[in-house]
Symmetry: D2
Subunit: 335 residues, 4 copies
């Protein structure tokens, strides 16, 4: 049983079915019927008009968003543990043509308005320093924590006051919404988010993520489409990406999948309340685990990553059933 | 009936089946079992050891290859009608960080050694000019013509003599091989090609192309993998790309599909020998057609692009059956 | 006697004197008293409010201007023989982060509105092609010809109608103004020019050129200042650049120097009316010259570049006195 | 009396004299007689063969060096307070095309081998993270401290062991050598430095710095020359830059100037031993100073920057005579 990453999980059946259903001749790139439905379908999810662009990776969605929010000579404030800083091999720097990430702190990979302001206030307002133009937060965070609505709104207010853009890396957005049990609108544009990388791949999709532009940021859609093309991300048979996303939106499958993964994580977390490094609010559980304990779990067939020294990361997926999770929970409880 | 583009065609069934067959948990990115088989499977196709990297678009494959062959201050010689020049919105410039495309001529979008040498010889050897580092040719060409083995070899010899890399944009490589009826090796590494963008999407795939590195160019695989990641092209569920490619290689499906499209084009071309702008060697037919003639064909339900004034482009696909083609051929013949 | 390039000429004495006069402590970068006078001094030259930024090379001025006028996914129309295309080793591509130069034709390296429109009209308005955002013309041109006021104005009108920026590479702007005998304003902002690279180095300066922003383009000054800094072009002792420029503006020294070089060129051209490849309107003379004739001139001590086969380029400088020129003129006349 | 920055100081007379002496016709760019002497003259300073390239700013020298040492997908380890991180507006990111600076700690803006290794060891060796390719240290440091020979050598050993390049930002290299009283070779190539940005502007020059390549790094000279050109840093009258540098090397003027500035700093530091934030080893003195104390010094005509809260930075220059410094020293001592 594998708890390495939700990236390793399978694709859910409705997505495969949608690929088959889309399998007929249609216009190329994003001029097909399915791609043309994306804005509207996402508008319903977010209760407002949006621009929605499919891409095949979250890294591409993040990098395209940041490039639209920050000039090459500017800087972007993110958490020291952000995926865009540590796990995208410089895609933000590539797509922004050299903007700098300024690194903040905060529990569980969550930024705070105070932390953000502190970084920005340390930047002299002259041409020798790269002026902040945007903030990027990850929802759910890289450590499995979730920003509450008021937390995002406070950051959104700060961004607005300073004239910055606010990007949300939602690789695990479904898990966050499932955890918060709130409207998707409340944690995004209503809280000041300009652009959202809405992830589907970790949550049962195959190869489709969606970049969502809200409010005034929608005006950037044209420019981003040029950047998507020059980044090599305008698939010629794009309808198979749109099909995946639309299938995941149908009957809120994305939410059901996110909830399932969260429930699995909760089973594990509840078995080890004293071991938790962070509250397990989404589908990642970080626990303290000695090398011997880790070895004993692995001997029982549970695979996962060590996380630094004395800690482990357990990621649950949309398709992990209780009969897979329960043995792990029991094994941890029995340590 | 649509003859706009092979990009509009459907995905062939074995590819869809392969996606379903791949649908179980496996390691993320390109560490899964299918991705790990790619080098070996491509090695059999090309009768030599290769490095094979999946990406989701031909534009990405081309741009990654060119970036590995040419520094930012260098230049790349290609045809004036090359896809990399006209239809990739600057992806080569983006991935190479600003290298320049130098544009050559030649019938049917095919370069000649003389033309290439003429361009290069016009470049002063000093720091004020961008020195050529690579040549890129398209096989089959943007005008549906095919380079013969000796034609590629002559360009390959020139590149070797000058110390340049040779890239082949094989978006329609299957159509070229079907037309040439030669070994894939003969028209690539044996003729001096260093890197090939091996296309599958136009030929019945969904979202997987493959960049192939031959011979000494294989040493660039590591660097290209970093660039693929920072370009946002390392899909987390990469196994679904590998699955597509492997399905297309199985029993030479790629060749069968390419042959089918070529045969369809031949039916059309044979119906209009006096109208051909270029010999229809692959799956594209360019014919002279007056506005009235074009309108009359469209009135009969045939869709295609005008190509400049008084010409039309008809592209056939792997899945177009004779009963679709014959009426078009007859309609053209009857004009 | 050397007729290779005006780049080889000496620096005129007032510029050296100005360096000595500036040699006391002052604020660093461009906050010193001299740099702060630049906008005003240039405003007088151009009879309007301008933003004026010193840089140390024309290549930097050109590249910064183009980067401010064209996004990375856009294109810039220039002449096939433009310095930005052939002699800046990709600086425009570097500073624009990959924009493409689209190459036009026209006698004597001068673009025409028809030629420009023809290039632009060949670009499909979709994300696959790099849309034009700017035009760059060189005044005086790379072949020593000068755009008349109405010629620039016609291009300016076209740019305005299409929403493009218009950049003028004025490496030899002084020679052009001297030839036209018009107001600097008439051939720049009044004719629709947004940005001018105003050259001084070829004309008696040492290491200072100036980028001038007119009208609405002035709003880009802040962004360009960031780009100048990140390009490494914000000299810490910038006052020594401002001093050079101000010295050249004093009593219209720049115009006097330009006129002197033009007069020298005219002496040569008048001696060889039948050999002229282009009208010698500024300070460059292109003449037909056989290899034997070239050798005979060189044997007499005249140095110059061959220009292709059977042609030669003779460039005169601000400091070449009639007793230097007359012998060359006579030698050519006597061939 | 101004203690803001050595950038504000005047140019020393021998440099001005050298400009006048160079003021005759010569070949353009770096093919003139003076530029051609640079390698040899620097070779004598460093007791080994070097490649020496003039540029007009330290930012350009640093950025060109880093771009030659690190690919776009790599990272460079430097101190959190490094000039390349904080005061070059992203020039390193621009010239490297997006490499990332990884920030280390250490007293007085000096890195340690342990600190460097700690950063590098935290980077996973996979394509998701930007692998370190170089280290950059500043000598003298941004806080006026000097790396001892064995300190540089230890970092050099680490770089060699890991296969990284080592760059030294020597904006105040003269001050460092004056402080160490050692051979320039001992603190550079003999200690493992591959590239040095050798600063002259802060030390009495006008607009010329020099990038020095040692040992195996010399092979990068050609590539760097292309990058210098495309960065707009190949001045057409380059001989006036070479002249400045050669004048500063003559009779070790650079060392005399550096020593003079250091001596001035020592006078100040000796007057305030209890206020020193860092040992004043070069020409910068950082002292604790209350707002009232700062105001009282300013009221007496001494100008300087506050440095954070309760601290001040006092920078001395090559041309500040004892009668300028003594009153400041006395005023501080009397606080």
């Amino acid at each position: 049983m594998r708890f390495f990453s939700d990236n390793a999980a399978a694709v859910c059946q409705p997505v495969l079915d949608a690929l088959a259903a889309a399998n007929h001749v249609d216009t190329a790139y994003d001029d097909d019927a399915l791609s043309q439905r994306l804005n509207c379908a996402m508008g319903e999810v977010f209760e407002t008009e949006v621009e929605a662009l499919w891409v095949s990776t979250g890294t591409a969605a993040n990098a395209l968003a940041l490039a639209a929010l920050c000039p090459p000579h500017g800087s972007i404030i993110c958490h020291r543990e952000a995926h865009i800083q540590n796990d995208e091999c410089g895609a933000p720097e590539f797509y922004t043509h050299g903007a700098k990430l300024l690194l903040g702190d905060g529990e569980g990979a969550k930024l705070t308005p105070e932390g953000i302001a502190g970084i920005a206030d340390g930047i002299r307002d002259d041409v020798h320093q790269m002026q902040p133009h945007a903030v990027s937060i990850t929802q759910a965070s890289e450590y499995g924590m979730v920003y509450a609505i008021n937390e995002v709104a406070a950051i959104g207010d700060l961004c607005r006051a300073r004239g910055w853009g606010l990007h949300m890396d939602g690789a695990r957005f479904a898990n966050a919404i499932a955890a918060l049990d709130c409207a998707a609108a409340d944690i995004t544009w209503r809280a000041g988010v300009d652009m959202l990388s809405f992830g589907f791949v970790k949550n049962g999709g195959m190869s489709a993520e969606t970049l969502i532009l809200f409010g005034d940021a929608r005006v950037k859609a044209t420019e981003i489409k040029y950047c998507r093309k020059r980044g090599g991300h305008l698939l010629s048979k794009g309808r198979y990406l749109a099909a995946q996303v639309l299938a995941m939106l149908e009957d809120d499958l994305w939410l059901a999948n996110g909830s399932a993964a969260n429930a699995a994580a909760k089973l594990i977390a509840d078995a080890a309340p004293d071991r938790l490094v962070y509250p397990a609010e989404a589908n990642e559980v970080f626990i303290r685990l000695s090398a011997e304990e880790a070895a004993s779990l692995r001997a029982k067939g549970f695979d996962f990553y060590d996380w630094g020294v004395g800690e482990a990361r357990l990621v649950t997926s949309w398709d992990q059933r209780e009969d897979e999770i329960a043995p792990l929970a029991e094994a941890i409880a029995a340590l």
